[in-house]
């Protein structure tokens, strides 16, 4: 198993109130899976993927990644594991506005120790994969929302991570663009065997995945195969 969560609980202290954000989560994700996590706002989706993506380690229970727990690992170890194993795609793209597309996409490679010179052809290759050749010298604000999200996907896959976490990747996009973006994810999963964990509250979007997990008030309420795939 790539990712294994065993009775994970998370509490969130806000003043005197104590929120129980994740309730007894048991979840296993294998290599090559395309998993959608669906639920309303505040259900705990983001908390769950922050935990999976090594951003948050304040939880109770056990999270094994490739069989190892990183709960007590140092910040540097977590940074390294994020750099090597995880690709993030965010709802609002989260590109660095001052930097060119090239500089945005090369970040994971540079933090992995690559030189700018060595990173450049790899970045160009990743941009071609998301259908954005010849725009590496532009800055994010010169691109449309859909194009910016493609850049973010290129950034998430450029360093060949073990899995990609996509947090509402279509939340800021119109329906047509959403479909294009989701198509990219599906191609990545089908053609290259990329493991994808997708968070959404849009049922339509969740149909692109192979497996659907429904989450409500911090607990998993359903874990099923997606039989009726979205139209290609």
């Amino acid at each position: 198993m790539l990712i294994e969560l065993k009775s994970v609980n998370k509490y969130y202290q806000n003043g005197a109130q104590n929120f129980h954000v994740l309730r007894d989560i048991n979840l296993a994700i294998d290599r090559g899976e395309f998993l959608s996590i669906m639920g309303p706002s505040g259900a705990g989706k983001t908390s769950l993927i922050n935990l999976i993506g090594f951003i948050d380690r304040q939880y109770k229970g056990e999270y094994l990644f490739n069989g190892d727990s990183y709960q007590k690992a140092s910040d540097n170890t977590l940074a390294r594991i994020r750099n090597r194993s995880v690709g993030f795609v965010f709802q609002n793209f989260k590109l660095i506005g001052n930097n060119t597309i090239l500089e945005n996409v090369e970040l994971p490679l540079l933090y992995g120790g690559m030189t700018k010179r060595a990173a450049k052809p790899v970045v160009e290759q990743a941009l071609i994969r998301v259908g954005l050749s010849n725009s590496s010298q532009k800055i994010p604000s010169e691109l449309s929302g859909g194009q910016q999200q493609r850049v973010a996907i290129a950034r998430a896959l450029v360093h060949q991570p073990k899995f990609i976490i996509a947090d509402e990747p279509t939340g800021a996009l119109d329906t047509k663009t959403s479909a294009e973006i989701m198509q990219i994810f599906r191609d990545l999963n089908r053609n290259e065997g990329a493991t994808i964990v997708l968070v959404t509250h849009d049922p339509q979007v969740s149909l692109y995945g192979d497996r659907l997990i429904k989450i409500l008030d911090g607990a998993i309420t359903a874990d099923e195969e997606v039989t009726q795939h979205a139209l290609l």
Partner: protein, 404 residues
């Protein structure tokens, strides 16, 4: 991430906010420019002093001690005996002691002219006097055989005797002795400067044979002058003080006269003290300027960190470690101040050149590697010291809070 890549990022972020960066740099620029200017002028000054007081080829500083006998003194006694010289040689900072005579070839005397006194310049010559317009020149022979003769200039001849030829074969009283005027030279400008006379053969109002003058005034002061060559780094004023103290308490002739020192660096010392005071003042102002500039840098860095919280989050999510973030902001602040330091250095050089181009300045500013290193070091230090806190704040930002 590699150092060079982080630096590129830092540099770009500075250039992105040009106006803000330049305003923040202003304090650094002013502070560094002030320090560089005053250092260059100070160096130029000390070079000039060293050069002007070490005119001898060895490059060593020399100072002089002269013995002045009282009126009642027994002038036949030696001003300095062997024991005195040994004592002086033992003073720390003295490399060599040379004994000579203080007799000058020139003197400024006052002469009664038509009920008034006139200041005249007298040359005691051993050889020929300069060309005459009437009568004859003085010769080396006059000196050797002790002829009591004089050559005076035309204007003096006119005011004393009414004309150049009238003056010939008249007598003129110099130091209570009568000399026969045998020649008249061309008129000497009335404003004769004594110090100019020291520098070489210059026209004088009266010329008389040296030996004759010495015979009458008994001013045969042989060996009354000690020239002390100082070792490198020794301070002339300090050595003089010590030597004078020893001679005044133990000198062989201390009861019959006075010892005086002639310190060529004394004047330079006074100027140096003033310059030192100015240097301290400018350094203090520059220090305050740099401190305030540092706070400005800190403020700007805090703003920059706050503005770029999302960027920090993205970088952290992409695998940046805390030290990567810290280094990025630290380099940004240091690059900003180093840039300011370079601009300040350039400005300081221009200012120093401008100041040394002023006609009142007797010397040129001098630029050393030390000045450059200081500007570089100080500006780097300001950037690092005042950048540490914002950089730490940036690196400690909670990733969960900023990835939303």
């Amino acid at each position: 991430m590699r150092f060079s890549e982080i630096w590129t990022t830092a540099l770009r972020s500075i250039l992105k906010n040009k106006r803000r960066s330049i305003l923040t740099m202003l304090g650094i620029i002013i502070g560094i420019a002030a320090v560089v200017t005053i250092l260059a002028i100070g160096d130029g000054f000390s070079n000039w002093v060293t050069k002007s007081i070490t005119s001898n080829k060895s490059g060593k500083v020399e100072t002089q001690i002269v013995y002045m006998p009282n009126d009642t003194a027994n002038t036949s006694a030696q001003p300095f005996n062997e024991r005195d010289l040994t004592l002086v040689r033992q003073v720390k900072g003295i490399a060599r002691v040379k004994q000579s005579s203080s007799d000058s070839d020139y003197a400024q005397l006052t002469l009664p002219v038509k009920n008034k006194t006139k200041s005249v310049l007298v040359h005691y010559t051993k050889g020929k006097s300069s060309k005459v317009i009437a009568g004859r020149r003085l010769t080396a022979m006059d000196n050797e055989i002790g002829n009591q003769v004089a050559v005076i200039d035309a204007s003096l001849a006119k005011s004393l005797f009414g004309g150049t030829t009238n003056a010939l074969h008249h007598g003129i009283t110099i130091d209570d002795q009568l000399y026969e005027i045998v020649g008249v030279r061309s008129s000497v400008a009335s404003s004769v400067n004594f110090t100019d006379a020291m520098s070489g053969q210059i026209p004088t109002n009266i010329t008389i044979p040296r030996k004759v003058h010495q015979y009458y005034t008994r001013s045969e002061r042989t060996g009354d002058l000690l020239t002390l060559s100082l070792t490198k780094g020794a301070k002339a004023s300090h050595v003089n003080k010590q030597v004078l103290h020893i001679l005044k308490t133990q000198g062989s002739m201390r009861s019959q006269g006075e010892y005086q020192s002639n310190d060529p660096t004394a004047q330079a010392d006074t100027f140096g003290k003033v310059l030192n005071a100015i240097t301290y003042f400018v350094s203090a102002v520059a220090g305050i300027s740099l401190f305030i500039a540092g706070i400005g840098v800190m403020n700007m860095m805090y703003i920059s960190v706050a503005e770029r919280t999302t960027e920090i989050g993205i970088r952290r999510a992409m695998g940046a470690r805390q030290q990567d973030i810290r280094l990025q902001f630290l380099l940004e602040s240091a690059t900003l101040t180093i840039l300011g330091g370079f601009i300040g250095y350039g400005l300081g050089v221009l200012l120093a050149l401008g100041v040394s181009a002023l006609p009142v300045m007797p010397f040129k500013a001098s630029f050393s590697f030390g000045g450059f290193a200081l500007a570089f070091g100080v500006s780097t230090a300001v950037g690092l010291v005042f950048g540490v806190m914002p950089a730490n704040a940036a690196s400690r930002k909670d990733l969960i809070e900023i990835i939303r």
